[in-house]
Amino acid sequence: MIYRSQRVAYFYFLAAVVLFTLQVAFGFLLIAKYLGPDPLLNVLNFATAKEIHTNLLLVWLLTGFMGAAYYLVPEESRTEIHSETLAWVQLGLWLAIGVTTVVGYLFGVTEGRKFLEMPFVLKLGVVVVFVLFLYNIAMTIRKAGRFTTTEGVLIGGLAAAALLFIPGLIHFDNYTLDRFYRWWVVHLWVEGVWELIQGALLAFLLIRLSGADREVLEKWLYVIVGLTFLSGILGTGHHYYWIGTPHYWLWVGGVFGALEPLAFLGMATYAYNTLRRSGMAHPNTIALHWTIGSALFSTLGAGILGLSHTWPQVNQWTHGTHVTTMHGHMAFFGAYVMIVLAIISYALPALTGRNDEERQTALGIWAFWLMVAGMFGMTMAFAASGITQTYLERILGLGYLETQQKIQVHYLMVLGTATIFATGVAAFLLDFVRAGAPQTAARAMPAGAVAAR
């Protein structure tokens, strides 16, 4: 930790990891309901458990992104955070909104729009948090007068995410329009501006972990985020096939949706080439694992598995089946979970006042491999259930309920592989706690950071 105020990132990361653990716990509740019978049917039904599972994901990833920004921006701009107090207030407000939302869900207070279920008033609270955050970061950079491309892409991504949250605040009476603008938030977040955040964090980590030349990496970062928007903006069209929007979206969404893997392929190539040229001798092997893992797994989960059902000719059969669940789990894990865990793993030694060498814990490596193995297995199990469901229900015409009874065995597989995944999450949490209490004062730069300059 070079700047004292960076310590606030530790608490963002701690909150993120705890919420991640909770998200996984709710995942078990969901798969238990799939296997049935459901003793909680009229107490905590599937819909409520599901919205908590997905909302916790969004909240903890955003918490991780904001923590990453508070860690990274001081180092990039070489200054203390403009107001550490504001960063604390922001975290407190953010978590208060999160807790209120979840408690509200338990009592049935919801807008019931998938991913955007949060009641309107609390959504306004989210806007306030984002404004505080962006103000604090902008003032930090302004004060320093030093602004790197990497942090620019990161902050650009976060600012665009805040801006794109606004269509989610509007209510439409026409369901088709309601769907249309819901995707402006959901698609343009996860297949658009969030990729800027992933790309920037990847660039930062590669610069620090490999010691590669910043100019070269930032040059290619522009290409990657350029490819993201080139494909991702019109790629929104792959959500506009069947919701009442014109037929030309089948062409637009099909063609540009199929180009979306390019950005992820770009990231994988980027990571590979950087490490091949500049080596991977950095002592923080856990961070290295997560960084390379994110580049590869996002290509597979978001890129290839997304491509597998983006064509309208395929999507007309798979739309609304577990094929989407298959893609969704590995995409979110590869692109966003892994990059947040990478930045946490990278920052943790500095935040807890340790040397990078001390962070080569066996537990941390176990956490990585258990999560990777578990998520791979879950994805395969969802793929099997999704493909079988598509065939029986959509192609042969068997009823939904009969089909579900035929694919129960795949839900057992989800349960088994999810248990492996959860063991990995528990290992990560334990490893995080074992790293020790956060450091309160700044000290000399860690070796890796010095080498990178």
Partner: protein, 269 residues
């Protein structure tokens, strides 16, 4: 290639594709009214969308294929099952389904009569949206969908009345979404296996209250006026003795189509 070049690629590319996207969005807006039949978007439909959201329906169900995958897709549900049945179902799902038999059960949400009416109006409106032909083949809650339920073209050119009747049964009539033709399988309405035999017996039963004199007449009456006689069993009618079968077939089908349908029903064994 320099950093300045790639930066230009990023900014200009993003600007260009954003502008195209906004252009397509504006054009899409001009088509929505016709594609969703805006003139039929009543206050009931508006309130129904609110009910749909407030009770978090799409975190179990899909609608237009969007939502969660724990419960059936509801895009065509009103055309498939009818408003009377859905009203009864939503008031108390456990009357029709059980976890033991069907694997899953919808929770009893405690909806008011007005909310039930509104959400059915909303679902009926969604069912008429021009979805570019999705789903390509009907998605049904239970049983088996034979090709050609509501919204899908069917071949009604088959030779012979029974064959034409079969295509109506599985097609525009949507009969097959509620009536099984296998014995002992009750989807919503009674199984229609051997229905002609039972119809012949029923008209001579003293408990029978309808006007039909023979099997043929009974089948016609059941289709056109479902309330003329209620089949015993509390699964088939509301507590106020209204049949769960849609009373709309006298308007939806021509007399010739009903004759064909009856001809088909008489072949079921």
């Amino acid at each position: 290639m320099t950093k300045a070049t790639t930066r230009r690629f990023f900014f200009l590319g993003t600007l260009a594709f954003t502008l195209v996207f906004i252009g397509l969005t504006i054009h899409t807006h001009t088509t929505i009214s016709a594609r969703t039949h805006d003139e039929t978007l009543t206050d009931g439909v508006r309130r129904g969308l609110r009910v749909w959201g407030a009770y978090n329906c799409e975190n179990c169900h899909t609608l237009l294929g969007e939502g969660a995958y724990y419960a059936p897709d509801l895009t065509q549900i009103v055309a498939q099952r009818g408003e009377v049945y859905l009203g009864e179902f939503l008031a108390n799902p456990s009357r029709f389904y059980s976890e033991a038999r069907n694997g899953r059960l919808m929770p009893t949400l405690g909806l008011s009569r007005q909310q039930i009416e509104d959400v059915i109006a909303f679902l009926g409106w969604v069912g008429k949206i021009d979805t570019n032909g999705w789903p390509p083949r009907p998605i049904v809650v239970s049983g088996v969908s034979v090709r050609g339920l509501p919204g899908v073209e069917t071949s009604a050119t088959a030779a012979g009345p029974a064959a034409r009747g079969q295509s109506i049964f599985n097609g525009p009539g949507a009969c097959s979404t509620c009536h099984s033709v296998a014995g002992d399988v009750i989807l919503v309405g009674p199984s229609l296996a051997q229905v002609a035999v039972r119809a012949g017996q029923r008209v001579t039963d003293p408990a029978y209250t309808g006007k039909a004199k023979d099997a043929d007449g009974y089948l016609h009456e059941s289709i056109l006026d479902p309330n003329a006689f209620l089949v015993p069993g509390d699964r088939f009618a509301t507590p106020t003795h209204t049949s769960l079968m849609p009373p709309t077939y006298s308007a939806a089908l021509s007399p010739a189509q009903v004759d064909d349908l009856v001809a088909y029903l008489k072949t079921l064994d």
